[in-house]
């Protein structure tokens, strides 16, 4: 997928990690930063990839797919995370479903929207309160390791895991002053 003359992009590494771990279902509510990843997932027939209307709907879809024998991931941005604590607390966590969540981190390192900045402050406390594992990934050279090991761990211990993709990794969304 990547030539030896260049380093893989973050989204190429995410795709490779999902494939290596047989994660075939990807459901998302769109995000600008995630767009190159989403476009790759749509183009690749390995994946069943589609948008839905709300992040907790996506949580329900990947939960059902897991119970039916298909691994799935949900892609969202920080504000979308704020819509899913009930689905996590009343479905995913108590049922022990290894839902894989990718969150494009908004609200930090150059955020221009106060609403995004505020909602980000709620994300890690909510995850900690639910004892849901989460990893903030800032470096491309660590991304593949973190994803591969953490997806395997989530499946093995039947617990969800959240990957917070920092602007340090993705470039984030830049404010045009």
């Amino acid at each position: 997928m990547t030539s030896q003359s260049r380093i893989a992009t973050w989204h190429e590494t995410v795709v490779a990690s999902l494939k290596a771990n047989d994660v075939r279902l990807t459901v998302y509510v769109p995000d600008r930063v995630l767009t190159p990843l989403i476009e790759t997932l749509h183009r690749d027939a390995f994946f069943t990839c589609f948008a839905c209307t709300r992040e907790e709907e996506a949580i329900g879809i990947v939960s059902g797919a897991w119970m039916g024998g298909m691994r799935g991931a949900v892609l969202m941005q920080t504000s979308g995370f704020a819509t899913i604590p009930n689905a996590l607390a009343s479905l995913v966590v108590p049922s022990q479903i290894p839902a894989l969540l990718f969150v494009s981190e908004r609200g930090t390192l150059g955020e221009f929207n106060l609403g995004q900045a505020m909602v980000l402050k709620t994300m890690r406390p909510v995850l900690d309160a639910l004892a849901v594992d989460h990893h903030t990934i800032t470096r491309q050279d660590e991304l593949g390791f973190v994803l591969d090991r953490s997806i395997k761990q989530a499946v093995a211990i039947q617990q969800p895991v959240v990957f917070i993709l920092s602007p340090l990794l993705t470039g984030g969304k830049v404010f045009q002053a």
């Binding site: 209307t53 329900g60 939960s63 298909m70 479905l91």
Partner: protein, 198 residues
């Protein structure tokens, strides 16, 4: 075509039993929160039943996920009117994916029954019409019990489809055992994903 105001007011538990009686191929059934899954539980604990204890509104999305993972198995979501109204957008997702093996049944009593009988907006929103407008062409009201049987038999032949049913305000029969891990594990065994315990 039957309209909501012409549909007979039926009983959820009786209809749930009629629905389950038609299942001959280990179809999966997702019971939505509250009385919907209480009545599914009380109709007999099939291994292919999943009982939702929280996550109001997610019966149809969970069913869609199962339907995607197991395209040869028919999957039925049972949902109340209040729950469906909470997650109406999922009807558009179902329509866009158009799974041939998914049926949504909406038990519509016009109230949030389990919380004290407060009115939902379903008296002014025709949920079968809403589903059709979202792109689920096979959406209909069941006129009476026999019509429900007929619509459900048709639904099992291919979907996606939605059957709306007017029901009374009788509470659910019995209560689901609230053990989420056990419910999930048995369901996965019922779907052949996990081996049953010896």
């Amino acid at each position: 075509m039957t309209h909501a105001h012409n549909a007979k007011v039926m009983n959820r538990f009786e209809l749930t039993k009629r629905l389950v009686a038609q299942l001959k191929h280990e179809e999966a059934v997702i019971g939505g929160i509250g009385n919907t899954n209480f009545d599914l539980w009380s109709s007999g604990q099939r291994p292919q039943n999943f009982y939702m204890l929280g996550s109001m509104g997610l019966a149809a999305p969970i069913a869609l996920g199962v339907a995607i993972a197991q395209p040869k198995r028919h999957v039925i979501a049972l949902e109340g009117d209040g729950s469906l109204l909470m997650q109406l957008g999922c009807l558009t997702t179902v329509a866009a994916r158009a799974p041939n093996n998914l049926t949504i049944v909406v038990w519509d009593n016009g109230i949030y029954q389990i919380t004290g009988g407060q009115q939902t907006a379903s008296s002014t929103a025709d949920l079968a019409e809403v589903a059709r407008a979202c792109g689920i062409a096979k959406s209909a009201w069941a006129a009476d019990e026999e019509d429900f049987d007929r619509l459900f038999a048709e639904a099992l032949k291919g979907g996606p489809s939605l059957i709306a049913v007017r029901i009374d305000d009788k509470p659910g029969v019995g209560t689901t055992d609230r053990d989420p891990v056990q419910i999930r594990a048995r369901f996965m065994q019922g779907l052949g994903v996990r081996r049953a315990q010896a």
